[in-house]
């Protein structure tokens, strides 16, 4: 081979290497997309927050190991804020300093407190708070989440009970059904859907009793249960997290309250029957996605990454919260991919408009309803599967299509609360 030919081959190889080296889609591209994650691993919601936080980190590892964001890796900074709103604001500033393109948030209190700031900064904030207050893009354009909102979930749970359980009641047709709400009044998370619950109760023709204030840390709720008993409710809506819901179910069972129970999604998980025992039998609620280990498309990876990244936590201790963490990350990743693919700078506005708001009936694979976001409506979905704990497992009672059943109210009245 002549010397010039060798030189030409070397030159060609250098050109190819240079092209590959600069191609952002190669597996070893250096560019990273920073995402911050605020989690409660120590505070009042750590009973559900720790598992969620693990799910977030595991899902990010999965995204990075399966192509990332069009070849770019996510650099995740995950911090505990102990459910303290001032610390959430401080950590948010730290994420900004790191150059975060999006933030995975946690509670309703901090999410609603941060909402004006993230709107001003134009940073998409994907929270674990599914408060309906965050779904109207005219007010909170950069707040998003993957699951059906608390208000829609509560409307669906009341409706499922009304459809399936009330007709079996011995007093059915003789009087109105009775509902009371049990939750921590001071907690923004717990009280977020109360207005919608009362509205749905009126729509379906319930009598509504006095709300009962139950702390998120309550272990003894006998006084609240006795107060409920005077009203003789047929149905109790629980708005707290798992531990205090379990305490209330136990006391309701012990004091023979005689009501059925529907629970907001952060109060119904694999731990509920462990903590409440037989008092959990028949408890219903909106799960928003699959339970850990349930047969949905992404579960194989969810279980695999749980074992791989957190080998110290046995799979039997993992919960639906892990799956919710995956839902948030997979939603954010899809929006980032779309915005990145659309070209231009990956600004918050681009992620919102070229990412999130292009999603139509998008299936995340975690057992949640397919998500749709438009520039006018950030409610991800209107169909809510309602589960019941019965015979040692969670069984689907009914999938309530809130949007389809009341299309006019959904469209014109219910957005944002």
């Amino acid at each position: 081979m002549r010397l010039t030919t060798v030189r030409n081959w070397i030159l060609a190889a250098v050109v190819v290497a240079a092209v590959i080296g600069f191609n952002p889609h190669t597996p070893y591209a250096a560019e990273e997309i920073v995402i911050g994650s605020l989690n409660d691993m120590t505070g009042a919601t750590s009973d559900v927050g720790k598992d969620y936080a693990m799910g977030v980190a595991e899902a990010v590892a999965y995204v990075n190991e399966t192509g990332g964001i069009n070849g770019k890796k996510i650099k995740l900074y995950q911090f505990d804020y102990g459910y303290r709103i001032p610390e959430a604001l401080t950590k948010y500033n730290l994420f900004k300093k790191f150059g975060a393109r999006a933030v995975l948030g946690w509670g309703t209190g901090d999410t609603e407190s941060l909402s004006p700031t993230i709107t001003k900064d134009q940073i998409p904030y994907i929270s674990a708070s599914y408060s309906a207050h965050l779904t109207d893009p005219k007010k909170t354009p950069y707040n998003l989440f993957f699951a059906t909102d608390y208000s829609t979930n509560a409307r669906a749970a009341i409706t499922a009970w009304f459809d399936k359980k009330w007709p079996q009641h011995k007093e059915y047709g003789k009087r109105k059904p009775r509902l009371v709400c049990s939750y921590m009044f001071a907690s923004p998370y717990c009280s977020a859907p109360i207005k919608a619950i009362k509205d749905q109760a009126q729509l379906l023709g319930f009598d509504v009793g006095d709300d009962q204030d139950v702390s998120l840390l309550a272990l003894d709720t006998k006084s609240q249960v006795l107060a409920m008993k005077q009203f003789q409710p047929d149905l109790v809506w629980h708005g707290n997290t798992t531990m205090s819901v379990a305490a209330t179910l136990r006391d309701a069972y012990a004091l023979s309250l005689g009501a059925d129970h529907i629970i907001n999604n952060w109060g119904i998980d694999e731990n509920l029957p462990k903590l409440a025992g037989e008092a959990a039998e028949g408890a219903m609620g909106a799960a928003v996605c699959a339970f850990f280990g349930e047969n949905v498309p992404m579960m194989k990876h969810i279980v695999e990454y749980a074992k791989k990244l957190n080998p110290g936590v046995p799979p039997e201790k993992r919960m639906i919260r892990t799956v919710q963490g995956w839902g948030a990350v997979l939603l954010a990743a899809e929006a980032l991919r779309r915005a990145d693919k659309a070209g231009g700078e990956l600004t918050g506005q681009a992620i919102l408009q070229k990412g999130f708001e292009t999603l139509r009936e998008f299936e995340l694979g975690v057992g949640s309803a397919p998500v749709t976001f438009t520039a006018e409506d950030h409610r991800p979905a209107g169909k809510v599967p309602i589960y019941e704990w019965k015979g040692g497992k969670f069984n689907l009672v009914e999938q309530v299509d809130v949007k389809g059943r009341w299309p006019e109210k959904w469209q014109k009245e219910w957005l944002g609360w």
Binding site: N8, M41, T42, T45, D47, D80, G82, P86, L219, A247
Partner: protein
């Protein structure tokens, strides 16, 4: 003649691409499987201490205002030994672990500072974990409420025991579900670890 040369160059580039495409994920030098570095808890230190107290948010402070209920902070430093069993350097990318006082998990700490560990050497890393009475009360209540009820101990008594006993480590401080991510620059590996301090303490 010029056209032929250009065509030849183009063909060479295409051929070189084709050849490289058969090895899309092959790193520049093929590396053996990376052995997971071994992490052990060398010790726990009380880095800063403010005693035991709790103030309800309704209390009027001497200066400023209380954002919420507040309690005595406690700054613990966890010193970890990270031994690299590989003959080449590896980089620590991130590390996290959960801290439990006795059997009650109170905190999870993430550290994102990176460092290279030379081949066959051991580095030390110090990770601070901040606790406070008010947040720990919430954590204890939310996750350990039924456990405490079974022990017939109130959350406040339990916290006081820990906050006063930490000066002499009169109870075991446990590190659980520790994981760390390492890379050799080409391959990655995850190490898991746990530990207890004082070392003699056991369940």
């Amino acid at each position: 003649m010029v056209c032929n040369k250009i065509a030849l160059y183009c063909m060479r580039i295409v051929l070189a691409f084709t050849a490289l495409s058969f090895f899309p994920a092959t790193p520049i030098h093929s590396a053996p499987a990376i052995k997971a570095p071994v992490i052990s808890l060398a010790g726990v230190e009380v880095a800063h201490y403010w005693g035991y107290w709790f103030v309800d948010k309704k209390t009027e402070p001497t200066k400023g205002k209380l954002p919420a209920n507040v309690g005595a902070p406690l700054d613990l430093a966890f010193v970890l030994n990270i031994k690299n069993p590989n003959p080449y350097p590896v980089q620590l990318e991130e590390l996290k672990f959960t801290v439990a006082f006795e059997d009650f998990e109170l905190n999870t700490v993430n550290a994102y500072e990176t460092m290279w560990i030379p081949g066959d050497k051991t580095n030390q890393v110090r990770v601070h974990a901040m606790f406070d009475v008010a947040t720990s009360f919430l954590s204890l209540g939310a996750t350990g409420g039924f456990q405490l009820q079974k022990k017939q101990v109130s959350a406040w008594d339990q916290l006081e025991k820990w906050w006063t006993g930490i000066q002499t480590f009169s109870f075991p401080v446990r590190v659980t579900n520790g994981t760390a991510r390492f890379t050799s620059g080409v391959k990655g590996v995850i190490s898991s670890f746990e530990g207890v301090y004082p070392p003699k303490a056991s369940k």
